[in-house]
């Protein structure tokens, strides 16, 4: 129903440049996530798409229509705020109805629309309560219903789950995914939580410091990070980085394995390290080890045991990510090979190389 396109978007508050030339093209019907650390400009970008903030320069298109300077109400978007932003003096019903009333939609039709949406978000029995009488999850549903009832081209969501507890957050995540499938409408969802991003998004835009660091599907972002920032931002614990001269070598914790004795064919390289701490998470465990190359995290199957003696940490060549001095990914295979050879690593040998 609505594609969102942002071209060369810049925004400054006084001397401070918040967005430094953003280009985004969100295909119609996708569940897009704007992901980045606090203060990276993602909420500002969302607010500009909503029309709540005016860009310093650049253009915004919804369904190929230039809406850069349109009033928020003329953009045909629904927005869900972090603090829900429900009108405290109105009942749930009135909160949802308010926008339609202003649009002067005929009363019977209006009541019909509101009732339908209230049913959809399962709040029928709370319709006459005020927001203050509802739980966090219920308030979130009202906020959603208020956006849904307008049947917008696109939904904008600004960290809508951040005020909920962990359990409810998981549940709402699933509900949002289902809702998006049901509505078949473009969602643009802002979060700083990479787990939310990876689990919900069909398209992820990672921002840092007013720039876009990478755009793509969760799989692309995870398996093929474009730069050091993305490699470290996505994944928990973050990608291990070993510095080598001007370059940084990244290996994800789950691509490393701890070997007490045998190594296998795929184990191209080996580090030795001693475990300093362990987190047993049930299904898996995260080990933190100190090596000659610094601290390294390894994620593995849970053994409920903490190795005490020095162990070997093995990883294969395919899983190595190389970044240059500026943090950009080095994709030149030869350069990577040479670099690894430089590190006195040879991958022609059957025997793994001890780094």
């Amino acid at each position: 129903m609505g594609s969102i396109k942002v071209e060369q978007m810049k925004k400054s508050f006084g001397q401070k440049e918040i967005l430094k030339g953003i280009d985004v093209d969100i295909p119609d019907g996708s569940f897009a996530i704007l992901l980045g650390p606090s203060g990276c400009g993602k909420s500002t970008l969302l607010r500009m798409i909503a029309g709540l903030e005016e860009p310093t320069s650049g253009s915004i298109f919804i369904n190929d229509q230039d809406i850069t300077y349109s009033e928020p109400k003329d953009r045909d978007i629904g927005m869900v705020f972090q603090n829900y932003a429900l009108y405290p003096h109105m009942t749930v019903f009135k909160n949802i109805e308010y926008g339609l009333k202003i649009k002067k939609i005929e009363k019977n039709k209006r009541l019909n629309m509101v009732n339908k949406v209230i049913e959809m978000v399962e709040l029928t029995e709370h319709a006459n309560k005020r927001p203050g009488e509802l739980s966090g999850g219920q308030r979130q549903r009202v906020a959603l219903a208020r956006a849904i009832v307008k049947r917008p081209h696109a939904f904008l969501m600004d960290e809508p789950l951040s005020n909920l507890d962990a359990k409810l957050r998981n549940q709402m995540r699933q509900e949002l995914i289902e809702l998006q499938k049901e509505l078949q409408t473009t969602f643009l969802y802002v979060t700083h939580d990479q787990i939310e991003a990876m689990s919900m998004g069909s398209y992820i835009i990672i921002m840092n410091n007013g720039h876009i660091m990478q755009k793509g599907t969760p799989k692309e972002i995870y398996t093929n990070p474009a730069n050091l920032f993305v490699a470290q931002f996505i994944g928990s614990p973050p990608t291990n980085i070993l510095s080598y001269g001007d370059y940084s070598i990244g290996i994800r914790p789950e691509n490393m394995s701890m070997k007490e004795d045998e190594l296998n064919v795929n184990d191209d390289y080996v580090l030795t390290g001693a475990v300093v701490s362990t987190e047993h998470l049930g299904g898996e465990s995260i080990y933190c080890l100190t090596t000659d190359w610094g601290k390294v995290f390894v994620k593995g199957e849970s053994t409920w045991q903490t190795p005490t003696k020095e162990t070997q940490i093995a990883f294969s060549k395919e899983d190595v990510l190389v970044f240059d001095k500026s943090g950009e990914r080095v994709r030149d295979v030869n350069l990577v090979e040479n670099l690894l050879a430089d590190m006195k690593v040879s991958n022609n040998r059957r025997e793994p190389v001890v780094l």
Binding site: R47, A50, G51, L52, E71, P72, K73, I77, G78, M79, F81, Q82, N83, A85, L86, Y87, P88, H89, Y98, G99, I102, K103, R146
Partner: protein, 271 residues
């Protein structure tokens, strides 16, 4: 345990003393209004020969009901005008970004420092030229905007969650709609509290109404009270009777809006 008890006893003692200090003048006003002329300067706490004479004289001497009505009209008009202008100004100052905003805000704050006596004469000349002498509007218009009210509203608007305003803008609400239908219902108690303070201030206004009105029929009650005390004769008994009557409307407001009044004193500081 014993210490806590002695602290509460001390607290109560202090509170009782302060209450006496606050209530005593009112009590003295009421009993004096029932004392006859020979008794008025005695220190008896209860009138020996209670009399309605002072009230009858006060009612005969001046149009008290008319003057109470004048006071009520003036105070109500002034309160409504000051609330309206402060709501509009507060909204503009908080929500809009325009050139000279800081300058306007600073000038506005500075006007608070200018004593009324300094602008009294120009105001008087202006009201005179417009021909609003002897008219409630003449009393009200120079006070249509109050810096105190604007700054108070400004503060409460500033702490109003912007997300609610953003949500209303997305719903298609206009600026006036946001002010009246979103902000106002949620800061109702602040506005009521402020309104009460403004009303009491307006009710107690003396100097300016005295300048604008010469005729008793057009003057608010505070002017009438003064007429009992002049260089020739001091009618203390009748003054107390008229003052007691003039306090009744304010007392009624206190009775009905007690909760809001306490709130307003806490919110804006006792004025």
């Amino acid at each position: 345990m014993k210490r806590i008890k002695s602290v509460t006893v001390l607290q109560h003692f202090l509170l009782i003393m302060m209450s006496i200090i606050a209530i005593f003048p009112l009590y003295w006003m009421i009993i004096s209004s029932f004392k006859n002329e020979s008794e008025i300067f005695t220190s008896s706490f209860i009138p020996q020969a209670p009399t309605w004479q002072n009230y009858l004289y006060a009612f005969a001497e001046m149009p008290i009901i008319q003057m109470l009505f004048n006071s009520f009209v003036v105070a109500t008009l002034m309160t409504i005008l000051q609330l309206s202008t402060s709501l509009l100004a507060g909204y503009a100052l908080v929500r809009w970004n325009f050139k000279g905003k800081l300058l306007i805000f600073t000038l506005l704050s500075l006007t608070w420092l200018i004593p009324f006596q300094a602008v009294m004469i120009p105001n008087y000349v202006l009201i005179n030229q417009i021909g609003l002498n002897e008219n409630p509007l003449g009393i009200v218009l120079p006070f249509a905007a109050s810096t105190f009210a604007i700054l108070s509203i400004y503060q409460s608007f500033r702490s109003f969650p912007t997300a609610l305003i953003d949500a209303a803008r997305l719903d298609g609400e206009s600026d006036l709609g946001i002010l009246l239908r979103i902000i106002l219902p949620n800061i109702r108690s602040t506005v009521i509290s402020l309104g009460i303070i403004l009303f009491i201030n307006a009710w107690n206004e003396y100097l300016w109404p005295m300048l604008v009105t010469k005729e008793m029929e057009n003057a608010p009650i505070q002017i009438g009270l003064k007429s009992f005390v002049n260089s020739d004769v001091n009618m203390w008994g009748s003054l107390m009777a008229a003052t007691t009557i003039s306090c009744i409307p304010i007392l009624l407001i206190y009775l009905f809006l007690q909760k809001h009044i306490v709130d307003s004193f806490v919110r804006f500081g006792i004025k």
